[in-house]
Symmetry: C2
Subunit: 332 residues, 2 copies
């Protein structure tokens, strides 16, 4: 498998991105390759000392799309940016998966404008895991489509079910449970978008729909797949990250002043960080575009990149996109 | 001050509501009174043994609005419900503040249809505190108005600033800092609603606007007042509650099997619960209606009700509504 990595994207690029990529290499199969996309002068020194040159390829890109760039203009204007180069490379069939910690809007624009949506998919959605007692709730959309139509949310339910099932992170058969994020569980609650999406999802017997889900219940794993608009989904993801981190950091600070306490706390923090640390989750999949395109947290460190590469390798084996087109393509 | 309490609203009504009300009585001033609204047969036994009968008044209501009732129909149809009776009582000037843990939609409907909005306010918003390192970020709207217009968000910014300043929970002068909850801090981020609301808020020099705020930054207190639509606000509030509770409960469970650990953990948990437990916050104010109307969490126990009564007493002294009308009333 050939995995392309945007070395220039994210707050800690290129150093941490390259560090994570090299950490992932031994975890892949011997014939897997990494394609590092970015400024070759910056990349060269990092890989000078590795013994695995035959498994690493550098694709030079002279430009960088920053967090402040306007997504669509950036994709159209910065043709030699690491994101555009990487996606072009993947589209031409030279890479089996793409990973970037760069500008989310630009990544989504590149996915839609360059890779193109899968047959039957109107708008791709970002699918990522929120912490839960059962290994995570797959949230879709986490920010690709901030003002979706009901049909888009229905497609997220279908795609999310297929993805969660393929990952094996789901309830027993028939299929993963799907919920819609709402302000209450009662039928009359919520916006028209939520109500119309519910009607579309309920009308499809192949979706294992469990109803509306409230934010406070997410940690208890009320469903395997949680559907929402990209605005609410992105806020939910960041609020979750912000508050779990705040509590755990306060706890760690507490322990610093008391060695005995620190010792007692260590195993708990180990498990808690495993469950709540976004660096563990291995990136979010841009669900519904051709190819495998992973978005990693902008603040990603080496561990997040390493985990994203490993996750990309795993998802690469699942053929999720073929299953989605089989279900959603018109006349399928 | 006369504080009316809906004894029938909430998951633990009437017992815990009455218990909390009686716990609050000694914390008020000697001439303050409580008006308990609900089924008098259920209330009587609870207050039989108190020595403060002169400070407690029972207003009988034969009906209850449940969580499943459709708000507007319930307010119009259940004229003898504890919510309608309480609000009618307050509107007629017999109570200075109202408190309920009942159906949020019904409370908002009662506030809008019966109490009426303040002069210059188009739609009231629910204002409540999210945990932060500086005593809490005032979130508005937390669920009263799930599809607001930009002008509504502007009014929340004005009302929230006035309320936060009155509470003394704000940055040093000139006035409380105000942020808009968004999916990114950059100008091009967000929905048209967010962008239009930003333009309106920036155009008012009396608002100390600090820009867009991301969910992950809330625990660090990025602003004193955080403005958002009622859908996103309600989800944010519940996600915050769900995940902080999940982490702290996991920690408590851990400590149960280890006495030494439990001892070390106790002071931290005490502080953490003080900061994160919604029962501490004392209820949410329905900001922008005539009168003082507090919504308490549906799962409220005695402590939440007690704190809400104490908070109502404190807010009652501030004359927030007069200040809001002075600022927003047409031609003011």
């Amino acid at each position: 498998m050939r995995i392309a990595i945007d070395v220039m994207g994210g707050d800690h690029a290129p150093d941490k991105i390259l560090e994570g990529a090299l950490q992932a290499l031994p975890l892949l199969e011997p014939d897997d390759k990494l394609i590092l996309v970015g400024n070759k002068e910056l990349i060269a020194p990092h890989i000078a000392h590795t013994s695995q040159h035959d498994r690493i390829q550098i694709e030079h890109a002279s430009q960088v799309i920053t967090m402040d760039d306007s997504p669509i203009e950036a994709i159209r204007g910065k043709r030699d940016s690491s994101i555009v180069r990487m996606v072009k490379f993947g589209k031409e069939g030279h890479a089996d998966a793409m990973i970037s910690a760069g500008n989310t809007g630009a990544l989504v624009a590149a996915g839609v404008l360059m890779l193109k949506p899968l047959a039957g998919v109107d708008r791709p959605g970002i699918a990522c895991f929120l912490p839960s007692v059962k290994g995570g709730v797959l949230l879709c959309d986490a920010g690709a489509n901030i003002q979706p139509k009901p049909a888009h949310l229905y497609q997220y339910a279908v795609m999310g079910s297929i993805y969660a099932k393929a990952l094996g992170k789901s309830a027993p058969p028939p299929s993963p449970t799907v919920g819609i994020l709402n302000i209450g569980s009662e039928d009359e609650k919520g916006t028209q978008l939520v109500k119309d999406a519910k009607a579309l999802i309920q009308a499809d017997p192949s979706i294992n729909f469990v109803g509306y889900v409230e934010g406070r219940d997410i940690p208890r794993h009320p469903c395997d797949v949680l559907i929402t608009d990209g605005f609410t989904g992105n806020v939910t993801l960041k609020v979750t990250e912000g508050f779990t981190t705040a509590v755990l950091q306060a706890l760690q600070k507490e322990a610093m002043s008391d060695a005995d306490f620190a010792v007692k706390l260590k195993p708990f923090l180990g498990r808690a960080l495993k469950q709540y640390d976004h660096e563990e989750v291995g990136g979010a999949l841009l669900l519904g575009v051709q190819g495998l395109f992973f978005k990693v947290h902008g603040s990603a460190g080496a561990r997040a990149i390493k985990n994203a590469v490993v996750a990309a390798k795993a998802v690469g084996k699942l053929d999720v996109n073929a299953a989605i087109e089989k279900r959603l393509a018109k006349g399928a």
